[in-house]
Subunit: 468 residues, 2 copies
Amino acid sequence: MDAAEFRRRGKEMVDFVADYLENIEHRRVYPDVEPGYLRSMIPSEAPLEPESYEDVLKDVDRVIMPGITHWQSPHFHAYFPSASSYPALLADMLCGGLGCIGFTWAASPACTELETVMLDWLGKMLQLPEDFLAGTKGQGGGVIQGTASEATLMALLAARCKAVKCVHESDPQRSEADIISKLIAYTSEEAHSSVERAGLIGGVGIRMVATDEHFSVRAETLEKMVAEDKAAGFIPFFFCATLGTTPSCAFDKITELGPLCNAENIWMHIDAAYAGSSFICPEFRPLLDGVEFADSFNFNPHKWLLVNFDCSAMWVKKRTDLIGAFKLDPVYLKYDNQESGMFRSLKLWFVFRMYGQSGLQAYIRKHVELAKVFETMVKKDKRFEICAEVVLGLVCFRLKGSDELNEALLKEMTHLGRIHLVPCKLRGRFVLRFAVCGRTTELRHVQEAWTHITELSSELLLKKRNEA
Amino acid sequence: MDAAEFRRRGKEMVDFVADYLENIEHRRVYPDVEPGYLRSMIPSEAPLEPESYEDVLKDVDRVIMPGITHWQSPHFHAYFPSASSYPALLADMLCGGLGCIGFTWAASPACTELETVMLDWLGKMLQLPEDFLAGTKGQGGGVIQGTASEATLMALLAARCKAVKCVHESDPQRSEADIISKLIAYTSEEAHSSVERAGLIGGVGIRMVATDEHFSVRAETLEKMVAEDKAAGFIPFFFCATLGTTPSCAFDKITELGPLCNAENIWMHIDAAYAGSSFICPEFRPLLDGVEFADSFNFNPHKWLLVNFDCSAMWVKKRTDLIGAFKLDPVYLKYDNQESGMFRSLKLWFVFRMYGQSGLQAYIRKHVELAKVFETMVKKDKRFEICAEVVLGLVCFRLKGSDELNEALLKEMTHLGRIHLVPCKLRGRFVLRFAVCGRTTELRHVQEAWTHITELSSELLLKKRNEA
Ligand SMILES: Cc1ncc(COP(=O)(O)O)c(C=O)c1O
Ligand SMILES: Cc1ncc(COP(=O)(O)O)c(C=O)c1O
């Protein structure tokens, strides 16, 4: 394929993508295929000679499309949103065309420099304390990671380095391996599994902290655990707070946890993967109060800020903490750099400028309002209950009754494929999660979804009554 | 920006990218900017209201382009190639448009299924032993990682898990932390820094193995180290072999190292980040002989197989090793899944089909031939010496004389920005690396590069003589 053909095919692909997104709501949101469906539909080996582009595109329709879960559909209410917008798509095209890798400054100066400035822009939008920004007298700064999971791992490793160094200074006899074997990290029982994983990778102990009735970690609970662990000879060194938990979008009380961590010399990392985007709105910014106590903070613009996957924004308050720790091991630093291999800051730049802060705020507000509408409808129907406070774009609810009943409801929904939700467990109970995800989700989609859910529920309850 | 505007802007962007790539060779390959150049060129905060797309595009030309190192230029001979091709760009556009995340099967069935089949296609192209493939009776299979560094880390963690389990079985008293503190990993002194980093992250000891006169690790050397470490109470558990080292594209002798690792119960991982792509050619496939002894193998289609960044292909021989180890920790498994968040297999599919195996082989062969041409020219000029055997697309060479002389030559080259090379150290000496990188690099570019280098060298040598 030469440049001339690329011009033609590229323009066709732009139309293909635009057509797809304009008509996405008419597709079944959840695919109707069985595991293993694909293998028998294509050859078992790569062709020896080139095939035509027409043949490849035909197979996209024949093989790929039937197996796609349509994340960008306004009927998609599963997980959390995976952001997408036209400006971000354009930036990604540019990024692919440039095909440059920014693993050091020299490898692509614009890449690394735009990243630092974009994270300052974003940090200011969130009203992060000045210490987190790079272009100030402070000692902080931001980097783009691929995912929140990577950011959590980086934070835990930085904290591990710092803790080892710190203990080592007061007790030079003690080996690094011995210190690491005593380190304890903490996170909410409601935290994303990536936190536990980071602990396993880092080879440190990890304890799950129980939450209060709002699914929030409280300082009192953590304080007790820390005291017990210290008494038993362990070294508490890391706490990963969650703002906006995966199951129910709950918020750990960082205004009380922060001072505790600071006093105990525990690195506090904040994982706000989903909720973080909302902090650009003044009315939601109080949810971030307490960030001034944190050592590092992270959220995913690729979830809710109209920036396509992947793009996770991470800030550290004191680069000295990070760099100081990493200077012992210069190879770490390269890891950090290499993570920003792609020119991800381009899509932030395009999105921030084409939407403006006001456009982004309006987008967040619309999603939260739609969630409130859904919540109101659930509350009006006495057969249902709300299972967690609705703070942002997620509603946790269930049919009053058994887990089996709710499982049956979800199974039928998934089977029909008109809307897509995933469940969670809250206090051991099976709960349905309704997340407002799509860029094009409107009031009518939310109303239709609720009508669909109530109709299925009526059928199910009737069937159950008839069986009884 | 609505779909209609995206159609228009997207088509303009296709032309922008095509124009860029068609005219790239007329640009200065290495940018002429100073660190920090960008910050003062753009506002210090995101705009409150949306800006026009024209303004954004103008700034791409004004702010970004002057700071780009043009990796896709035929004058780019630094590092190793970062692949790019039109079919891969089209696949990436599609992937962005779909905007789906495949972290589990249900999250996007086509995503995970195409990935497994594409890695079978690719494995067959490399003639990997059947045990590495998923669609056979064997127990192996492939996954796509972002980078080789991630693949190495995954392999080391899997090996760590397996080793801990194994020691624990024979000695149930011993704690996991104690076992980990005794684990030793090995890799070549010429290995990529990501291997040492993986060791540091995993909290295990890591030893650098000395290489022979061809910069290859030999079994004899490793055997001695393993024996010494065992005698001292350590537990050798992991060896990362390199096929195609970063400095000089040297090859560890895996035919002798493999049996040693198997006998010592050491997990052998093969990192063939760059060289791996060449193994699709029968004449280079012998370089991979010995892979049958490996537990895992990895290379980067994003380096030399026309697939845009990022895409690193990893196979394990026994999923049971991996899954068996990970079943203890189900959260690990999620990590593994989550790594394939993006629909990266699409670009493999597009590239394999649009080039065919024959087209890909021809592409590899052309690069190797160009490197041979360069080598021949270097050898003919008695002022220069070749510093390592030229096996694939990389030539290590230097002016006979001091490191300072060669440093001055490279500095002048970088300053002029007509071609771009980076150096390496071989046996402590400063050496220039000439890598054939561009998709559009032709004989004339290589000849021009050599003319440029010899002219600069003549000037430099003359100046030196005059100074003396
Ligand atoms: C609170 C939280 N943290 C982390 C993650 C994982 O994000 P990523 O896929 O970017 O690693 C999620 C995903 O939903 C999340 O909700
Ligand atoms: C031998 C080798 N391994 C690993 C890497 C790192 O690759 P990645 O950037 O995909 O992690 C390189 C990069 O040049 C390499 O040459």
